[in-house]
C-alpha cells in the first residue's frame, strides 16, 4: 500500500491516513490478541512510522487519535443497537450481530490498551 503510494506520488507529494495498530511495547501474548481482535488490516508487526520510512517517505508526523476512536466505536455500537430491528431488516439478524460483536471486541481491545488509532502524515522523498 505505502510502496504503491510512493510510486504514484510526485516528488514532494504527501500522504495522510488513519491507521489502527497494536499499541507499541506489548508483550507477545498481548500483541497476538491485538492482531486477533483488531480489524482485518491490523497485520504488520512494524509501526506506521517504520513502514513509511521503509517505503521512502520523510518528514513523518504521527498524532494519536485513540480517544476519538473509542468514542466513535462506542457511538456505532450504541446507535446501531438502538435501531436493532430496522438494521436487522436491512442486513439480516446474523450479519447485524456479527458487526456488533466485531465492534465490541475492538472497543474492548482499545480499552484494554491493545489497540491504538493514529493519523500519519508524510512526504514522498526523492528517488533513492
Amino acid at each position: 500500500m505505502l510502496r504503491a503510494s510512493r510510486l504514484l506520488l510526485r516528488p514532494g507529494g504527501r500522504t495522510a491516513f488513519f491507521t489502527i495498530h497494536p499499541t507499541p511495547g506489548l508483550t507477545p501474548r498481548r500483541r497476538r490478541r491485538a492482531h486477533r481482535d483488531g480489524p482485518v488490516a491490523v497485520a504488520s508487526h512494524l509501526s506506521g512510522r517504520e513502514l513509511l520510512a521503509r517505503a521512502g517517505f520523510v518528514d513523518v508526523k504521527e498524532t494519536d487519535c485513540t480517544a476519538e476512536f473509542a468514542t466513535v466505536a462506542q457511538a456505532w455500537v450504541d446507535h446501531c443497537e438502538d435501531q436493532r430491528d430496522a438494521l436487522a431488516e436491512v442486513r439480516g439478524a446474523d450479519e447485524f450481530d456479527r458487526r456488533q460483536t466485531e465492534r465490541r471486541i475492538q472497543l474492548q481491545a482499545v480499552r484494554d490498551g491493545l489497540l491504538r488509532r493514529s493519523l500519519l502524515v508524510a512526504t514522498r522523498g526523492n528517488d533513492q
Partner: protein, 138 residues
C-alpha cells in the same frame, strides 16, 4: 495471489456496499460520523477535514483515495476542496454508489473511479499530488 481470507473480506465488503442505504442507516451515520457519505468506519467529518488540511487540497490538486469504498473520504474531500480525485477500491459496488453521489453533487467532472487493488493501479509513476486512505493499512 489472493488468499481465501482476502476473498472472504472482499465478498463481505461487496455485500456491505450492496445494502440499501435506508433513512435509518443514513441517520446513524450522520449522528456518529457527522455526514452521510457512506462511511462505516471511524473517520469523522472533523478528521476528514484534518486530512484535507494536511494534504493541502485545493482546485488543481490530484488526489488518490485508496480503499475508497463508497467514496469516503476522497469524494467528500474533492467536493469540499474542489480538488480532482481518483477513488480506487476492489469492490465495484461501492465505487458505483460514489460516482452516483458525485453526479448528485455536480462534481462528476472532478471525480473518477478505478476498480483495482492498490498494487495494480493503472497510473504512471508520479501521477498524484496526494494520497489518502483510512484504516486500510495497519
Amino acid at each position: 495471489m489472493v488468499t481465501g481470507e482476502e476473498r472472504d473480506t472482499r465478498q463481505r465488503f461487496r455485500d456491505h456496499y450492496g445494502e440499501d442505504r435506508t433513512e435509518v442507516v443514513l441517520q446513524i451515520e450522520r449522528t456518529v460520523i457527522g455526514g452521510d457519505w457512506g462511511a462505516n468506519g471511524y473517520t469523522t467529518i472533523a478528521q476528514a477535514n484534518l486530512l484535507g488540511t494536511a494534504l493541502g487540497l485545493e482546485p488543481g490538486v490530484r488526489l488518490l483515495d485508496l480503499g475508497a469504498g463508497r467514496g469516503w473520504p476522497g469524494l467528500y474531500l474533492s467536493v469540499r476542496s474542489g480538488c480532482d480525485v481518483v477513488l480506487s477500491d476492489v469492490p465495484f459496488e461501492g465505487l458505483h454508489l460514489a460516482l452516483a453521489r458525485a453526479a448528485d453533487e455536480a462534481a462528476n467532472g472532478q471525480v473518477a473511479a478505478v476498480a483495482s487493488s492498490a498494487r495494480a493501479l493503472p497510473f504512471r509513476a508520479g501521477t498524484f499530488d496526494a494520497v489518502v486512505h483510512t484504516d486500510v493499512l495497519c
